[in-house]
Amino acid sequence: MAKMTVARAMVEVLKSEGVEIIFGIPGAAIYPFYDALYSSDIKHVLVRTEQAAVHEASGYARTTGKVGVCVATSGPGATNLITGIATAYMDSVPIVAITGQVNSSLIGKDVFQEVDITGATAPFTKHNYLVKDPKKIVRILKEAFYIASTGRRGPVLIDVPIDVQMQEIEFEIPKEIDIPGYKPKEKGHPLQIKRAVEAIESSKRPVVCSGGGVIASGASQELQILIEKQKIPVISTLMGIGSIPTDHPYYLGMIGSHGQKEANLALRQADLLIVIGARLADRALGDTKITDNMKIIHIDIDPAEIGKNVDTNVPIVGDAKQVLSEINKRISERKDFWAHEIKAQKKVLPDDDKLHPYDVLREISRAYNGDYIITTDVGQHQIWAAHNLYIKEPGTFITSGGLGTMGYGVPAAIGAKFGRPDKEVIAITGDGSFQMLLQELATIKREQVPIKVVLFNNTRLGMVYELQKKRCTGRFIATCLDGNPDFMILAKAYGIESMRLESKEKLKEAIEIMKSHKGPFLLEVVTSPDEPTIP
């Protein structure tokens, strides 16, 4: 046992958890921690607003499978994390967020930069802690990593008062973590697995709906074995894109209100829906009503998801990878693929001399052949990306699915590039989303992060503009982004190479220039405001 300050102990625990990188901004209430960080090997990435720190940690976590770590000071530093934490919570991303807090003797007195961040984040953290007893810091941090990275993953916040950070403790890492109220169940119930096998074998038109849980659990291979044995068409949620390759012969696309027709059609015709790691919320189901004629098998690691949005005939609580491999051991082979006709209906997109977003995305897919990590922001471009990009491997399509947080894309790409420096990372964004966190261009420059940003600029908040066009008979309000900067000059100001693409003739050349450029690059694609989300 060694004596050390709490701040130092925090850094030691981070090291013992294998943390290599932290995203954050320092401040007065977190300076002892930063001081302890100074003499460690952990890399710190200085962001330009705290929200970006969480998104970057999220991009890092989603590409590495490790826990992403972000740090902020008390008060506004902590509240700036909130959107990022809620985003991670909705998409089950493992994050440990550390915040400084005012002196513990001043808590509750509304002193400078004080805010009740554990109270504020309780609804959208998996768990959070306000550390009052310095002796508990090591155990709490260990628990935080354990909780964030097991079961249904999610963000955990630890709020540490500045006086606590400075106290001396005896440092000892506990051998095991035992939390009486937290025992995630990974193995599916054998009886339910048997029932699932029977239901699949006796179904005529089974469909798998694959969600983010398949990717989180690393169950893609098991999923492919199942669907190939039983010849089951696969549809996915936005979060589930990439759980099987998008060019797989049984993949029909994304479902929902912004989904692909073939996928929704298959969902409507199914007599058995196998939901894996998805919650089937409103956007995923769209207009589709689940009828009594459809049986449902629901596999999820979070028991609370089962039966919440849709009634389930066969509930299986467990880790998708484990449950699917159990099912695969028992399942027979089926002869015919029932959804040939649906699959054959693939929509033909207009091929004219105009430059459409899907042309750009398809050219990117072709040029890179899926050897990239894609992050997206939120809006029309997100759906364009979801429908048109070739996604080859699980975990290479990173988007804010649940919360729909504009501003997510670029910081997530930064985090992803730190996680997987060997991969090309491309952020697909729009002019509305991009400007929500565009100060991260400075982080890209400072840290020399060689990511590519493809910016679809239609000078609109496109998704809402389109909604107003359809639902408000063209009464457009607050959706035109007049006053946008010249993004070429903006990129130049940050010292980032850029290019503007306006015509179809230049498309191949532009993607080639972007691809061959070594450093960070911004490609602005001038887009018509009347380009629909779904052509």
């Binding site: 554990t118 109270g119 309780a122 609804p123 998996k126 768990h127 306000l130 909780i147 939390i179 009486p180 109220g181 937290y182 025992k183 169940k185 979070d302 028991p303 609370a304 039966g307 919440k308 609580v317």
Partner: protein, 170 residues
């Protein structure tokens, strides 16, 4: 339909607000919530009376189970549990009505815990119906104040709710 849930939680500050917050945020209605420490000082027990259908109770249970501080939840069957609530009732009393009130109190096996010139304060424990019945009878004299603890409940016989989280509860 009313359901009684017995919930073992870690005896930490902030647990109550987490549980209460979960109810309001998910749109569940609590009829009453009583909390106190158990035989193990590190654990508190909450008795929560929820109003809703089977779907609501299932959701409440599952969502509560997701809270890290929640150790165990059990839905109590009213037939196999003893349910009690404590109430303090301050009622108007003068020389003409005092003896009537005392008589009613005795019939209900309740206690007079405070007397003044103009009031009597009655302590009663029992199930909800008994307390409601007494309050109803005392209304004619004019009730000044009622304080109720909310229901607490314990299973009959040998059964106990143990600390270990077993699978059938999930």
């Amino acid at each position: 339909m009313k359901y009684t849930l017995s919930v073992l939680v870690e005896n930490h500050p902030g647990v109550l607000s987490r549980v209460a917050g979960l109810f309001s945020r998910r749109g569940f209605n609590i009829d009453s919530l009583a909390v106190g420490v158990t035989e193990d000082p590190t654990i508190s027990r909450m008795t929560i009376v929820v109003n809703g259908d089977d779907y609501i109770v299932e959701q409440v249970t599952k969502q509560l189970n997701k809270l890290i501080d929640v150790i165990k939840i059990k839905k109590l069957n009213p037939k196999e549990a003893v349910e009690r609530e404590l109430a303090l009732i301050k009622v108007n009393a003068n020389s003409q009505t005092r003896s009537d009130i005392i008589q009613i109190t005795e019939i209900f096996r309740a206690n007079i815990v405070d007397v003044s010139k103009e009031t009597l304060t009655i302590e009663i424990s029992g199930d909800e119906d008994k307390i409601e019945a007494l309050i109803e009878l005392l209304k004619q004299y004019g009730i000044r104040e009622v304080v109720r603890t909310g229901l607490i409940a314990i299973e009959r016989g040998n059964k106990v709710i143990s600390k270990s989280k077993s699978e059938e509860d999930e």
